[in-house]
């Protein structure tokens, strides 16, 4: 199930609708890790925050740059780790009620 040669037209990040070709283009433009790809083409910036596609992006980086999985890095961990609607944040902290 290796995805060596994920076809260019394959959808990799389904949240942001980014194809393998767009990720390869980002690498050609200088992306060297998951964060670099994310900043250039938004792969991993959608609702799932890369939970599904990060592994595919890492695989493409490994193939294109002949690097190890660990060197591809991971996107920065930031709270909230699950989506929280703005309205809920505006409602304030439940502790105070």
């Amino acid at each position: 199930m290796s995805s060596k040669g994920i076809p260019d037209d394959m959808l990799v990040c389904r949240c942001e609708e980014i194809t393998a070709d767009e990720i390869r283009q980002a690498i050609r433009e200088g992306a060297r890790d998951v964060t670099g790809v994310k900043r250039r083409v938004r792969a991993g910036m959608g609702l799932c925050q890369g939970r599904i596609c990060e592994k595919f992006v890492q695989q493409i980086l490994c193939q294109e740059l002949h690097m190890g999985l660990v060197q591809t890095g991971r996107s920065t961990a930031r709270p909230p780790v699950r989506p929280v609607p703005f309205g809920e944040l505006a409602r304030g902290c439940g502790n105070d009620l």
Binding site: S3, V12, C53, F56, A77, R82, E88, R91, G94
Partner: protein
Amino acid sequence: MILEKDVVVIGAGPAGLAASIEAAKAGAGVLLVDLNLKAGGQLFKQIHKFFGSRAHYSGTRGYDIGRKLVREAESLKVDVWLQSTAVGVFPGNKVGIERILDGGVKKLYTVHGKAVIIATGASENAVCFKGWTRPGVMGAGAAQTMVNVNHVRPGKKIVMLGSGNVGLIVSYQLMQAGCDVLALVEAAPKIGGYAVHAAKISRAGVPIITSHTIVEALGDEKGTVRGAVIAKVDSHFQPISGTERTIECDTIAIAAGLRPVVDLTRLMNCASVFEPVFGGFIPLHNTDMETSVKGIYVAGDSTGVEEASVAMEEGRIAGTAAAQSLGYLSAAEAGKTKKLLWERVNSLRSGPFGERRLTAEKNLLEHFREEIREPQPEIMIGGLAHGAD
């Protein structure tokens, strides 16, 4: 005002329940948080009987173990917040929780746990082939939740990708639920899971097609799955052109392994390593199941994908250690319990699959001893150091 608890446990699966029970038994006030409608995690999907010794509930079905643990936690007055999601852990062991209130309104709470036990489990790996985003392509675990928890069949005709234990067991359970499993497709040259599970599938007449993969999910006029195109793969797992054939189906289930959910330990900058035997990046821990950050513990699949029986023992160790750190147990009492629990974990890590995990675990514990020694109270967020208090 921040709510205070002795121990906050995140995730009410086998590890989190076991941790809560041990900590509460020792006298600690425990808050157990889970995002699902009910506690029990994967146990309520496990309709099969467990293997192993009596201490590990052999011969008991997963959901009965789940019920027993939930009852025990309730009788020990563990505070359980369901449909509540831990959205962050912050310096000083503050846990941000999105909690649902009566009427379905959600609110954010901050709870300070003198100890925090992270037992967030694992998530399924995706596989990308042409059409992998079509409706009808899903994780094997999702298909299992549909039939065993919600009693809904994901489809009529299923093709399963992956012949590890999850692929084998879920295929059998889909058949028990009345689905037609047409084939199990496995990229490796041999079946990944236990022979006992594979035999059940084979006896029912379902072909397990090794050295093959799915190259495309075909769609009908609405775009939903109407077939799986499979192809033979070479020794580098590359599909061999010209070997494609189509299996008509309405569902493709993917059992391509699980990986630990580590969002919260990453947020706390817990030292981690990449360990393929345990499913990927995992937080390191010592024999107390405490991470490199003092007061933050881990247990279960979130620190390495294994079985529910291991998760429960790890949870018990974490719960015992957390209670000890808060003075609810003497070092002698806790030490005795933890020693026994570690013996039980090690006994579960036997056989060809388990031995690899036993070796990997030994190396990780050694790594912790050599590189980290004592959990550090300092943590880093965005490059800035914060004190734990």
